[in-house]
């Protein structure tokens, strides 16, 4: 196996990693840096947690360790998951293995990068609004985001508790079916994981998919043509494809950002510089001035923006108009999916509207531009429905393109078998790894 130090020197997927790899371990895995690990500092991409060494392992990490997996390291990410390109990180920004001048996607960018570069690697990621699908698509790997509540969030550093879902990224479809059942299951330490029916893999085949009309709007030319080709391939595999109208999807984006930032702004309240992060504040200040000073200095711009947005949407006089209404929209979106999934096994669309952008283009994007880039991944996340991104093509420059299947709650089964079947019929390329 390649040396992690030299690989990381080139791609910067790891925030921290071990020095010696145990070649006899049954498999190796990494964890996004918002999953707590007692073996490594855990900072969720933020300086407010600099130096934080958790007292306990996150549930998905301990479950993989229990079956013999070796945790290689913690992968870089957008601060607390706030971003689409993993560029909002206080630590390293991972580089796309197909073109290091481009982003890996986000917020589980380091995870997708590690899955693409390292052989036989299983990467634990977390999705709130598309943070597994997006980087999986940009880095040309498989990524499964299970149903909300399928995988215990014990030990996950919260972005938005009602939306956060740990999942898996890997270059091999078989790894998803092998390891998702391991990290799934009820965990009394996370009550929201205790409502789930068992995950049983019966190999249920994908027979019909619905493509929302809106899914074809706003796509780059390369993505559109790769997606059309992929539909043809699917039909060749005997899958029925039908275009459907899903009018509520366009409301998912605002509802998602309201709920996600409302929850995030409360989750981030605890970082006041008293117990975590650099301890270099002026202790002569009053406590609230001290908190303000610390938060102004050590939160990144995107974190500050989301704290402000989320605080606004839950204020007296605005809560009903924003937060409460967004909760209602979530129900409407779920019902729209259910209606379509009554007649189809999955809803299909491209994962991202474009291939991994160059860093110089990203620096010219406004916050709103990058929020909008998530319009295809956000609805399924808002609805808490399981979804899978698979590589489905490459553009002229060889950059990967992905498509995303969304199934009904608790129906990961059909997604996992679809990944295996797709892998047989589609030639997945691996990046040429340089050290």
């Amino acid at each position: 196996m390649t040396s992690l130090a030299s690989v990381n020197g080139r791609y910067r997927m790891f925030r921290s990693f071990i020095e010696s790899i145990d070649e006899d371990a049954p498999f190796h895995f990494s964890a996004k840096d918002n999953l707590t690990s007692s073996a490594f500092e855990t900072c969720a991409g933020s300086r407010v947690l600099e130096g934080y060494r958790p007292a306990f392992d996150a549930a998905p990490i301990s479950r993989l360790s229990d079956i013999g997996g070796q945790l290689l390291g913690k992968t870089n990410m957008d601060e607390f998951g706030f971003g689409t390109f993993s560029a909002n990180s206080a630590y390293g920004i991972p580089l796309n293995p197909f073109d290091t001048e481009r982003a890996c996607g986000g917020s589980s960018g380091g995870a997708a990068c590690a899955a693409a570069v390292l052989d036989g690697h299983v990467a634990l990621g977390v999705s709130t609004g598309g943070s597994i699908s997006c980087p999986a698509s940009f880095c040309g790997v498989f990524g499964i985001t299970p149903t909300y509540g399928r995988v215990s969030r014990y030990g996950l550093i919260d972005y938005a508790n009602s939306l956060d879902k740990p999942g898996i990224l890997s270059a091999r479809a078989a790894d998803l079916s092998r390891y998702l059942p391991v990290i799934s299951g009820r965990d009394p330490r996370d009550p929201t994981s205790c409502m789930q029916p068992d995950l049983v893999l019966t190999g249920r085949k994908l027979r019909s998919v619905a493509v929302p009309e809106t899914a074809l709007e706003g796509l780059s030319r390369d993505v559109e043509s790769a997606f059309r080709t992929a539909i043809g391939t699917l039909e060749g595999m005997g899958v029925e494809v039908e275009t459907v109208d899903m009018p509520t999807l366009r409301y998912a984006m605002p509802a998602y950002y309201i709920l996600a930032t409302s929850e995030a702004s409360t989750n981030l309240a605890r970082y006041g510089g008293m117990r975590y992060g650099p301890q270099d504040g002026d202790l002569a200040l009053r406590f609230d001035d001290y908190f303000t000073d610390f938060r102004s200095r050590y939160f990144g711009d995107e974190a500050k923006r989301r704290i402000l947005l989320g605080t606004f949407t839950r204020m007296v006089g605005f809560r009903d108009r924003y937060y409460t209404k967004a909760l209602q929209v979530r129900e409407v979106v779920i019902n729209d999916y259910r209606r379509v999934l009554d007649d189809h096994d999955a809803v299909l669309a491209p994962t991202m509207p474009f291939v991994a952008p160059r860093f110089d283009d990203i620096s010219r994007m406004s916050a709103l531009d990058s929020y909008k880039a998530d319009y295809l991944t956000v609805p399924a996340n808002l609805a808490g429905m399981p979804h899978l991104s698979v590589p489905c093509g490459y553009d002229g420059g060889g950059m990967p393109i992905g498509m995303q299947l969304v199934a009904d709650h608790w129906c990961e089964d059909v997604l996992l078998s679809a990944a295996l079947d797709w892998e047989k019929g589609f030639d997945v390329r691996r990046p040429e790894v340089m050290e």
């Binding site: 999953l35 707590t36 855990t42 969720a44 947690l49 934080y52 958790p54 007292a55 306990f56 996150a58 969030r153 014990y154 030990g155 996950l156 550093i157 919260d158 938005a160 508790n161 009602s162 009394p188 330490r189 996370d190 009550p191 929201t192 409502m195 409302s262 929850e263 702004s265 409360t266 309240a269 605890r270 006041g272 008293m274 117990r275 975590y276 202790l283 002569a284 406590f287 609230d288 908190f291 605080t311 839950r314 204020m315 007296v316 809560r319 937060y323 909760l327």
Partner: protein
Amino acid sequence: MRIGLEIHVQLPTRSKMFCSCPTTSAESPNTHVCPTCLGMPGSRPVLNRRALELGLTIAKMLGCSIPDTTWFSRKTYFYPDLCKHFQITQYDTPIGEKGVYYLGKKPIRITRVHLEEDPGKTKRVGDQSSLVDYNRSGIPLVEIVTEPDMSTPAEAREFLSSLIADIRHAIGLQECDERSIRCDCNISVKEERCEVKNVTGLKNCERALMYEAVRQTKVLKAGGRVERETRRFDEERKVTLPARKKELEADYGYIGEPDLGVYHIGKMAEGIKVRESPQNMIRRLAQEYGIETATARQLVSTSVPLAEFFETLAEETDVPTAVTWTAGVISANWKSYDRSEESDRRMVSAVKRLFAGEITDTECSIILKAVMTGTDPEEAGRSSEDLDAMIGSFLDANPSIVEDYRKNEKAANRIIGHVMKETGGAHPSSDIVAAAKRILESRL
């Protein structure tokens, strides 16, 4: 004057509200803590169902209507003792609403009852710094909010002490430190009201309210206007002071707590039986049996089981007989009575025989005492006969005592003093008192 209270009471669970840390007092700071009650990133709350049960018991005791479902909310504010900088509390769906509590005959309306977690404690060290102890962080609290139905500070204190006694009785709370009761006190002399936040203990509540009542009256008399504001109570100087402006502008930005689900409490509440509170029992005994409230209070405050025994006797005989015997010999021996079903039955049967005219007062008294003290009836009879004889002859020699007793019950003390002196403490004083009263009553 209108006074309304928000009362916080710690619930006697063994572990904290959202983790398994003990709630007992710790030897040193920050030892009864874990990732959850320290609010460490990645930790999660798991609801202690016992806290929910106890909260529902109180809500039912206060006659609240209880919703079918309830959930928790996050109340966000920045303070060093609040480890997550949000408190898990209830906002939209308190476990109880629209209850009522009777202070004597006066109804005090209860606005709502909800559950929340206690924050930690800050402790000042010198002038420059404070330390934080999170042992208290996550201890379950019930908050009871009243309508402004009290009219004086003294009444507010009376309400508090009576309410706390009832809560103790309903949920089996041990005698606790007075200071563990915390109140926010709302008071208005005329129109505008002030809130005095976070007052600790009954005494301080009354003091803070009294200070406010005087202050507001003075302001109005001088032709001024009472500003609507939040104040705090300075325990050292016993005055209320305006709170800092920032605290006034607090907008807690409530949202649902997404880590905890929706709890179906309707069924749970149905299954909870609330023990009748002492206050309610006094009211009920007076009403149901037509006895004096003072008598009812005497029975209940001696012991609730004694009052229950009274009810049994009233059923088996009649109310006057039941009063005479429970308030007399039985009450006198109740504290040392080692109760059993069998001895209860023997006592009831003795009083029934008396009621049927099969035995005399003296005989009944002997039997009761023997049963309650676990002595041989013969011996109890003898010593009791000695006692009766001594009192009898003393009264024969001093017939004026009977006359005096008609006017003032204290006249019985002369007999008691005499017997004590003569016997040198051979009879328990409770026996002497009971015997003296019984014999006096028989000679009236």
